[in-house]
Symmetry: C2
């Protein structure tokens, strides 16, 4: 098949690789009908993680079941499915506790920007989409494989509550989905920290009530002012850098939680500040499968439209242009069509 | 008055110092009838914090109100009061949110091991003990000024729930009070990590169902075995060192919270592990005042007896012997009588 592969720093190609095959009876092969590029793919692209030349990349996709292993009984070829980026059996104690991202059989989509991908633990991982959703719903359905579920997880971990104040640090696709989550959960003030006009606009349309366009101490002071000097009841840290984390802890009111979902890079947690302020940290890799029962109806009913985070659509073979656009921040998130 | 003072590394004296006086209309002076030595006093004693020669020390005490400032209306000379180690107005937004330890007017007991101490924000800080509790209740009442409330805070922050599993890391007075808290909150398994026979015995009497006497990887493996390979639902980190924190995160099941209450010393939080396992951290300096409505009746009704953490009683003037005993771990906690 043809797949997106990474060869070196910023060297993304669309090349021929071996077809994925059923390796275990719990596997399924999905023919990808839509995929996209994630902010976390950029960590690889920029060389922040180790690159194995020729490695396939991409973990957000949906499509049609092509083939299933012998122990997969709930899905069959032809089913249209959402593929959560982290695979899970959905039966182990961690899954039953709602932490499918720490499943004892956890796996990951390894060739999401390709023609096909192998899904491990297909019985627990895959999620059938009922009916025949139109093309216009595809971006939002695709967002459920990662970013929308991840933004939702940040809000859950931060303990967003009806009537409270939520601050979202980060205006990438996850941060914008975090704005949706905080708004749906009933936060009265949703403060989006964003420096980019197009993202600010989308944040407001997604339910943000205030925008803070400054960063660092200036931005923190602005949030404090917006919260009557008290700080925010809940903070969604949707970046994963040290600076974002510091801002998150600074704007949190004593007793609040910071919900974090960005894979941490160069983060040293301010444990003394956490102790003195009683500000906690929770979250981590999103247990996507857990939230689909809740999120899919919101998408199908048109109550949320997270697909709007995609502001560029490219044919899959032009995937390298998509990485460049996201790396240079000329696109928020790139939708790829086969 | 005579007070305990610290002069240099491990140089504790009982000396003459100026009497504390009302400095603000919100102050009160309390004549101390019982006090004690805290594990966190040892950080100073051992030189882990900066020592100002001659500084008074001690922050756990109770006694009789001697004098009040002009704006203190709920207390008058002669009242028998508990003095929470952290002072608060109990009216600011942080206090109202239950984080009295981050009160906008926060203060601390500065001469707790002395004849008198000044209490700031007395109206919000002090807590009257009803009736005429006998001498045998004094140790437990004294524990409410810090360690019992702190152990309780660890359990609250860790989210201990009825029927769940709680691990308590640390067998100091706070850890032992954490065992009481987890037990009262209904945890079905309460696993105390303790290497000392006397503390193990007390932990069992306080409600621990299991003791893990090993440390590091060996201890972690033992906890994992006791929790069917899943890990603990709630972890109380009651030490404040890097090793204790690492153990706490290792024994927590994915999705669990670590409640921490030991002032962190040399702690680097394992943010990657937290992310991958979805294990959160909450807690900090205990909002003692918040818990007194709940804890005092438990003591007065005899449902809990945290005063048993005191295994040595000394006259206040022999305070230096008490520090030595706690430093050498020949005493769990030392009760001081004027």
């Amino acid at each position: 098949m043809r797949a997106t592969t990474l060869h070196d720093l910023k060297d993304i190609r669309f090349t021929e690789v071996p077809d994925p095959v059923i390796e275990a009876p719990t596997d399924a092969i999905v023919k990808i009908t839509a995929s996209c590029i994630c902010g976390s793919d950029l960590w690889n692209y920029r060389g922040d993680n180790t690159i194995t030349p020729g490695m396939t990349i991409g973990h957000e996709c949906l499509g049609i079941v092509e083939e299933v292993g012998s122990s997969v009984t709930s899905f069959r070829p032809g089913d249209f499915v959402i593929v959560p980026f982290c695979h899970c059996d959905n039966t182990c104690p961690h899954c039953l506790a709602g932490v499918q991202s720490a499943c004892t059989h956890v796996g990951f989509t390894m060739s999401g920007q390709a023609e096909y991908t192998r899904v491990t633990q297909a019985e627990g991982t895959l999620y059938k989409v009922p009916g025949d959703p139109g093309a216009e719903l595809m971006p939002s359905l695709l967002s459920l494989t990662d970013v929308m579920a991840t933004g939702w997880h940040a809000a859950v971990a931060a303990g967003v509550r009806k009537g409270g104040t939520a601050v979202v640090v980060g205006d990438g696709a996850v941060g914008l989905c975090g704005v949706i989550a905080a708004s749906v959960m009933g936060a009265e003030k949703v403060i989006a920290m964003s420096r980019h006009a197009d993202r600010q606009k989308l944040a407001m349309e997604f339910g943000a009530t205030h925008i803070v366009a400054t960063r660092g101490e200036e931005g923190e002071a602005e949030v404090l002012e917006l919260t009557d000097g008290v700080g925010a009841d809940a903070v969604l840290e949707c970046v994963g850098t040290g600076q974002a984390m510091n801002t998150a802890f600074s704007v949190a009111r004593p007793g609040a939680m910071v919900g974090f979902v960005g894979a941490p890079h160069g983060v040293t947690l301010p444990v003394r500040q956490m102790f003195v302020k009683n500000v906690g940290l929770a979250g981590g890799m999103a247990p996507v499968r857990r939230y689909l029962d809740e999120l899919l109806p919101l998408v199908l009913d048109g109550r949320i439209d997270p697909g709007r985070v995609f502001d560029m659509t490219l044919p899959l073979e032009s995937v390298a242009d998509g990485y460049r656009a996201m790396d240079e921040r000329t696109a928020i998130k790139v939708f790829l069509q086969p």
